[in-house]
Symmetry: C3
Subunit: 159 residues, 3 copies
């Protein structure tokens, strides 16, 4: 048992893998934060989508008026979906990249730029900042993931 | 070759990793089930979104009337998206957590509570149960993932 | 340090894992491509969702008319969401499957069919091809993931 435990701990002792684990936890926590921001705007804007969520506002028409869309809520939701579309590939490709034996400094460069770009993207989306802030921060994160995927395919290709 | 195979099999022999694999397979299968529930409601409610999906109902206006949204279909789809938003972080963070060397009993506690909460969340969303059923089951799953992320960052932090 | 590096490299030297890494990179890149297709249709159809994205078209009503939905844009977005719903389970279950010690030929069969089915699904959605092209390609990918999940649960089950 302790032998097995040691085995699985060795992966987490690898510095590149530790860096991957750190930045993956950070970007996934950032993505999860979008749920709280959505809930905050739904409650403060009183804009809900499920009838059972407005029951505490009374019955009938008095509650029904809170079943509506709100521009701020929809904006956060678009940011959340954009996170899913971009952070999922980072987590999947990043794991393979971390296992493909990159230099620690190169790996850290990829992970730091991706995390920074996605945090900027969220601010650009939610404030919102004028374009091309959001577009550029999206493109930077996208390019990092493409770069990691290229390294993975170059290292492991087995079709 | 057999040596390599044995190496990769050792990870799956680790009990914490086996528990992670079991619960990850379960919650991903539960999420996939949402596709079938959506298809079921689309067909029984005759509510489609793509014109090519209604071609078997005839041409022109007779088919066009089935291109519509249905409250039950939209409800399932919201449940599916909520699964993506919450199960993706669990799968990603949970993998790192499983590799960070937690006690088997602590790990099982996390995995079991998360899976139970997400199954409850689905019933609360689809029946639907009165609030705060859905809100609480969401919060429980969310908290489990935060707890695992905290353990991961405490163990591996390399920024 | 080099000992650790060697350890983590051994996983990527395993042939089944290399095949998993190859096909996971391919399907994630395919999914990422949907973002570019969405951007292409948003720009060519002039159909945007965020006011800040239309600022370059001028101010007031002249820009506001580009805040609209377009059937082609919405179609790509549905294809993208369908990718998330199906490729996320493949990446998660596929990793566990690759670690569960399948034969290389069986694993390659699963990965190749899944990747082929999802590429067909994208063409069927975007062209669009008449049904049941899209439905069948979806079902084939879905079945592959179920088959891998069954193997994972049979190998590792620890509840």
């Amino acid at each position: 048992r302790s032998g097995k435990m040691a085995k699985s701990t060795q992966l987490i002792d690898n510095e590149v893998f530790r860096a991957y684990a750190t930045y993956t936890a950070i970007v996934l926590l950032k993505m999860m934060l979008m749920s709280l921001v959505t809930a905050y705007f739904r409650i403060t804007r009183k804009a809900f989508v499920n009838p059972e969520d407005t029951a505490s506002f009374g019955k009938g028409d008095s509650a029904k008026k809170y079943l509506r869309t709100d521009p701020d809520v929809e904006r956060v939701r678009r940011g959340h979906l954009n996170d899913l579309e971009n952070i999922v590939p980072f987590v999947g490709v990043g794991l393979l990249y971390a296992l493909s034996g990159p230099d620690l400094s190169t790996a850290l460069l990829h992970f730091r730029i991706f995390a920074g770009a996605r945090i900027l993207h969220t601010f650009a989306y939610l404030i919102p900042l004028p374009q091309p802030s959001r577009g550029l921060s999206w493109a930077v994160g996208y390019t990092v993931t493409i770069s990691m995927a290229y390294k993975v395919l170059k290292t492991v290709l087995l079709l």
